[in-house]
């Protein structure tokens, strides 16, 4: 049953894309930053999970946890070492800050990529899935891992939604994306808010990286492509819109899966790219974009 296979595979990969993209768009919406080292953070998390699980013989659970922590640390490092110094710099003209942040995160991403290649080579790594084995769904063999990935992604997305919409802390994040000055007037330190967002982002990107490693594997050469697909999805969905990113992730995920199965695996990325070109020319703010 090819259709079912496509449906299930597409669902899992879209969920994974969605997780990564949501983190990316969260950072843009609240902190105003397009983090071009996004792929780097994901792969660092993946590699850490693999190294801890394998080399340190800690097993896959602890490995995965270590991977997520690595994501968190890398995100904070990106913020503290690259983004924040540029935003606060007295030597960089105010109207060029955005460009410098983009270039800075791009360079940082390259540094991460080369460092990983140096220490771990460019060979792909995979992390042993937490739940192994295969299950039979209506005639289609689905790895349990895929189901778990989809489940974890949606659980995380759900938790995030709860955080932002139902908790006081979450509402502060939402308010920060709408009007940072308003928050300052109400006595909230923006620096704390930004740090918190980057930490959440780190967890999301780390989790996405670890899951990716269990599903498709990860390697340092992939970093650019991971960043590219995250921002393609985010642009499609609308920069700053979390629900837009999620919808776009599914559009892209299914386009890729359909193309891989029905046309050719090497041409996977084409339809999404074409869609991106169309969107950029006809509706640059994306599906649900705010600006």
């Amino acid at each position: 049953m090819l259709a079912l296979q496509i449906l299930i595979d597409g669902f899992a990969i879209s969920a994974l894309y969605g997780l990564g993209a949501i983190g990316f768009t969260l950072i843009f919406g609240v902190s105003g930053v397009l983090n071009l080292s996004h792929g780097g953070i994901m792969v660092v998390a993946a590699i850490t999970a693999w190294a801890v699980a394998g080399d340190l013989h800690a097993g896959t659970y602890i490995g995965s946890a270590a991977g997520i922590v690595a994501g968190l640390v890398m995100a904070l490092a990106t913020y503290g070492l690259v983004v924040r110094p540029i935003q606060r710099s007295s030597v960089i003209p105010r109207d060029e800050t955005e460009i410098f942040v983009l270039t800075g995160t791009l360079l940082w991403g390259i540094m991460i990529q080369e460092a990983i290649a140096f220490f771990f080579t460019t060979n792909p790594i995979t992390v042993v899935p937490m739940i192994g084995g295969v299950v039979n769904l209506a005639g289609v063999r689905v790895p349990n891992n895929e189901i778990m990935i989809a489940g974890i992604c949606w659980l995380t997305i759900g938790l995030l939604w709860l955080l932002v919409n139902r908790t006081r802390a979450g509402r502060v994040l939402l308010a920060a994306s709408i009007n940072p000055r308003g928050l300052t007037l109400l006595g909230f330190e923006l620096s704390t808010v930004y740090r918190s967002v980057w930490m959440i982002y780190g967890v999301l990107a780390g989790l996405a990286g670890v899951l990716l490693a269990t599903f498709l594997g990860a390697r340092s050469d992939n970093i650019g492509q991971l960043t590219a697909s995250a921002f393609s999805i985010v642009v499609l969905g609308g920069l700053g819109s979390v629900s837009g990113s999620l919808i776009a992730a599914y559009v892209v995920g299914y386009l890729e899966t359909l193309t891989a199965y029905l046309v050719a695996p090497t041409l996977r990325t084409i339809p999404a790219l074409l869609l991106l070109v169309l969107v950029v020319y006809l509706r640059p703010q994306g599906l649900l974009g705010r600006r």
Partner: protein
């Protein structure tokens, strides 16, 4: 920042003349590194014209370079003479420049940057899909080359860089350059002074594109091959940006220095293996954090900046 002080002009003149005589003294290896550096300098100078003088950040300069390179290579394999191919490369890149200019005039900030990146990705995919014609990921080789000796190749590159540099610098100092700067810095004020900003930005894109495309075409006939890795890689594009920023934004001349520095540093650090790219990227990051005005900024005397 001007080079009007006689001291600086003399030094620059001396360097230019000295470098011209290099093939008489230097090894083939040194010459080949510098040849690549000179073409890179043209990439960087064209980028700086667009950024510094029209205020547009092109995150995918390899789109224009790649168009020029592939157009030149493909035509040559159809039997078109070398120099016509180079010119065709310039024309192909010009078309690409116009294509990029259209969304640029309607999009702000990060959106336009993304468009330029997307353009590179799309071109990469087109090259890969039509691999039978373009050679795909492996690339294409061309029959003609500029020369088989390092000396003449060096002079072609050097001369090309000097000519392009002279034209770009003159443009930047010209009345047109003044209008371009105004358009890039403050579009509303430029319009209030009677300038059609859209027209001038389009002009900036076209100029930047033509030089990038010509340089891409020249590189094909220097290396004898063209491939995604050499002219269409995002990483190459990033290096172009770093070169221009390291050298000093909005100076044109700075971009040339930055490019030469970058290529030389890359070569010097090659023994370190994997780490050389890391180091170069790290240096670039530190530079943009602490010395955003690059080499030219450091050279300018403190008082002269106001």
């Amino acid at each position: 920042m001007t080079l009007r002080t006689p001291w600086r002009t003399l030094v620059l003149g001396a360097i230019i003349v000295a470098l011209g005589f290099l093939p008489l003294a230097a090894s083939a290896y040194v010459l080949s590194v510098l040849t690549v550096a000179y073409y890179f300098a043209v990439y960087a100078m064209s980028w700086d014209l667009l950024f510094g003088f029209a205020g547009e950040v092109n995150f995918g300069p390899t789109f224009l370079i790649g168009l020029g390179a592939y157009a030149a290579g493909l035509l040559n394999n159809e039997g078109v003479p070398l120099w016509l191919c180079v010119i065709a490369g310039g024309v192909a890149a010009l078309a690409g420049g116009v294509l990029l200019a259209v969304p640029a005039l309607r999009l702000r900030g990060p959106y336009f940057g993304l468009v330029t990146l997307v353009a590179v990705l799309v071109l990469q995919q087109i090259v890969v899909i039509f691999a039978s014609v373009t050679g795909g990921e492996i690339g294409l080789s061309v029959a003609d080359v500029l020369s088989i000796d390092p000396g003449p190749n060096y002079w072609y590159a050097y001369g090309f860089m000097l000519v392009c540099g002279a034209i770009l610098v003159t443009l930047s100092r010209s009345a047109l350059g003044l209008i371009l700067q105004a358009s890039g810095q403050d579009a509303v004020e430029a319009a209030a002074l009677g300038f059609n900003v859209a027209k001038h930005k389009m002009a900036a894109f076209c100029i930047s594109a033509v030089f990038s495309g010509l340089a891409g075409g020249m590189v094909v006939f220097y290396m004898g091959t063209v491939s995604v890795d050499s002219v269409l890689d995002i990483a190459v594009g990033v290096q172009v940006i770093i070169a221009a920023v390291l050298g000093g934004r909005r100076t044109i001349v700075g971009a040339a220095f930055g490019a030469v520095f970058l290529i030389l540093a890359d070569e010097l650090l090659r023994p370190l293996g994997q780490l050389n790219t890391f180091l170069v990227a790290a240096v670039a990051l530190v530079t943009i954090l602490f010395f955003p005005d690059g080499f030219m900024g450091l050279l300018a005397r403190p008082g002269a900046r106001t």
